[in-house]
Subunit: 463 residues, 2 copies
């Protein structure tokens, strides 16, 4: 079998399939549409729900169409992939593998914004043999975080430096002018279910000044650090699940400090910790007859029985929330004591919490979101030590044109263009951590979309 | 197929197989040996490790023998079961099912002290059809707790009462005269691994005054209640995992309060909660190079990095343990700050914690353990309300003759006798919650072994 090492491109019309037309494709579709004529592309926007695909595509012409596709129907998926040159898969992560196997069969490239799984990695040789690129983790986080970090790391190493510290944080929040009186300074700007379930699963693992550190899942929201991001104010950083796996990704096998995290406004994590302590984020069992419960009754499920005391006082006492704490303000504002009822008849504690929070954390039409990214990289050259802080902020226009959708979708669109227009692109299963990806993608994001990183050298302070 | 309803007994020599000769068979084996001649039994004590089986059996004669048996070797298991009349299975719970299937094939009765699983329950019809009894949950907890509770419940109902409240607690602790300066007032008297992993898995579920209540696993050790058990002092009760499943077992579908729990000495749970908060009870990932770690280094894995502060102060600060709290005394005494090293090269956090605690919580040769059981049952007859408190305490003789081994093993031995000597015993998969079991077993425990319950009527106070 001929093993190709780099991408071969011919001159025919290229057919792009976008599978999954959810919120995060808001910016991706207009980007692709704007290039159809210039690059001789044809775009199919497919979704399980035809109306969603049609609404996402907007005006159509002979170069683009919307259609419905149920990817669990293998015959339909096979037919859809038949003449595709490149597939952008925006379906839930566990569904990518089936699509990837179809791409191998029909010789189509694949681009996703999801974490690279061992199963996807195992397709590497076959993808290479077929002259294909399977690019993963090419959205925001993972995506732009990798690209901007890898560029900084390569720059320091090219300059003879050794990396001693790597910290990286990303947050999807609200623009300050859309925060109003919301004490959480937060609304849902991506999948609410994922926000509610965040921090569950295994223990957090990272390395600090050469020492391994572990945090159990139920304590993640009590182990935060504060940081200022120039131009955007003060944030708190919460540890992501397993930072250690990024040692090999970033070539940081010997780094003394490695920490990846999520940004929220200060005070978010302490209040969210109340949901965790109460057991409201549990997705492992079902509560029955939820349609007979008010939000207040739901809250009371997690508190000791008492015929006299109020749910409010029992909660404050149980969680040890002082009278003068803003935690309680946040919980009350979130609706935990509301008489509103659930419209469904059963659900897990997490599904109920998601419903409660959707009442207050759904973006209003003119709400503007904010994406903030912050890297802190420590280096050493002989006896010289230094640190680079690099930050990025992007604000959305409104609830239909969010910064979240731009920063997730545009890297996918630019990567699509890079693959379909050829150039020195390596084949196989990839992440955008090499200069062939990060240079053109970061350049276009900065020049055409205002996604810019501000770097500054600061004295080395360590972790 | 002939379906028998009650046990048929013939007069030949009965062969009893005891599979698994661990600590909890300390009292069971002498009990069985004392009956071999009287009832014309033959006893085989089998263990994966021959020396363990031999040591457990002690002196042998033509009526008893020790042997090795690897129950994962299906040929060997089949051969061992060949001529057995009754099997007492004391292997880990997940291994009972294979033995049960062998019992069906070779027409042997089965007795265990483990929780009845749905898989075991599914063998009911086949066991009946073969004239067999498969008795489960016939040790201490589950076991004596069921029997004593069922007897009380049946008594109240027979007297025209309706059950409105049911709480039941069991604890395996230390006799006060063996507590010494141990601030936990606790040592391992059963499988240490199970103690370390206790409280993990799903949420705690119970019902209090008609209200469903849920506690997430990581908060179990902060939701205790105190109680006095006459003659044995003060204890704290921690909720067991899922009390709700006992509604059907005990016929308590409409009870307003149902709560099952574990007893410890006051202060135990708050200190144990530190292990949970730190993440030391996590069994889901492996720490490498543990042989390079002292117990103090292990503790530090779960605390933030700092080049100056002591592990002690970081821990107290992180967990919010006040200077004047006995929690810290307990943690220090347990060895969390010791320079002793682990002898193994890798292990989960829970395996490491088990090793740390074994250094201080292993019974000394002359330590005496204590079993305490406490039931609180509320009843109503028309407008009359009342409550019965029933308590039991048994002390061990030393580390080789523990109360734990007596209370787990003797019910199994007595049940074996009941099955092999016939009488009005129902066939099929069973728990000892009917009078055919609880009357003779509780009577013999009280008359011959001093395991007695003290009951008193108290005014109804509710939950």
């Amino acid at each position: 079998m001929l093993i190709l090492k780099q991408l071969q491109i011919d001159q025919m019309t290229k057919k792009i399939l976008l599978i999954g037309a959810g919120l995060s494709t808001q910016s991706l579709v207009p980007y692709l549409k704007s290039k159809l004529h210039e690059y001789d592309w044809h775009l199919s926007v497919l979704d399980r729900d035809f109306a969603t695909a049609e609404r996402r595509l907007g005006t159509s012409d002979e170069r683009c169409r919307a259609d419905s596709l149920d990817i669990t129907d293998s015959t339909a998926l096979d037919a859809a992939l038949e003449d595709a040159h490149l597939v952008i898969s925006m379906v839930p992560a566990h569904m990518h593998l089936n699509i990837a196997k179809g791409c191998l069969k029909h010789k189509a490239h694949l681009v996703t914004a999801s974490y690279l799984t061992p199963e996807m990695r195992s397709l590497d040789a076959e993808a290479r043999a077929n002259g294909l690129v399977f690019l993963n983790e090419c959205g925001l986080d993972p995506g732009i975080d990798h690209m901007s970090a890898a560029k900084l790391l390569d720059g320091i190493r090219g300059d003879g430096g050794e990396i001693v510290l790597f910290e990286s944080f990303t947050g999807g929040l609200l623009s300050p002018d859309s925060e109003g009186d919301n004490p959480w300074r937060y609304k849902f700007t991506w999948n609410p279910r994922n926000v509610v379930l965040a921090g569950q699963g295994g223990a957090v693992k990272f390395i600090q000044e050469g020492k391994y550190k572990y945090i159990p899942p139920h304590m993640i929201f009590r182990r935060t650090e504060f940081m200022n991001v120039e131009g955007y104010g003060r944030f708190e950083g919460l540890a992501n699940r397993d930072s250690l796996k990024y040692r090999s990704t970033y070539g940081l096998e010997d780094v003394a400090t490695l920490y990846r995290g999520t940004l929220r406004r200060p005070g978010f994590a302490r209040a969210w910790d109340s949901f965790v302590k109460l057991g409201m984020t549990d997705d492992s069992y079902t509560i029955k007859n939820t349609d007979a419960l008010s939000f207040r009754d739901y809250t009371n499920l997690f508190l000791a029985y008492n015929p006299h005391d109020s749910v409010e006082l029992k909660l404050k006492y149980y969680l040890g929330i002082p009278q003068d704490s803003e935690i309680f303000t946040k919980l009350r504002w979130a609706g935990l004591f509301s008489d509103q009822r659930f419209p469904f008849s059963s659900g897990t504690p997490a599904e109920c919490l998601e419903y409660v929070l959707k009442q207050v954390w759904t973006l209003d039409a003119d709400d503007r979101d904010l994406i903030v990214m912050f890297h802190k990289i420590g280096w050493r050259k002989g006896n010289q030590w230094g640190m680079i802080e690099s930050s990025m902020g992007v604000e959305g226009k409104n609830a239909r044109q969010t910064a979240m959708a731009s920063t997730v979708g545009l890297p996918l669109g630019i990567a699509t263009k890079l693959i379909l227009t050829g150039g020195a692109i390596d084949l196989g299963v990839q992440m955008p951590i090499t200069s062939q990806w990060y240079n053109p993608i970061l350049n276009e994001l900065a020049n055409d979309f205002g996604v810019t990183f501000h770097e500054k050298e600061v004295p080395y302070t360590g972790y």
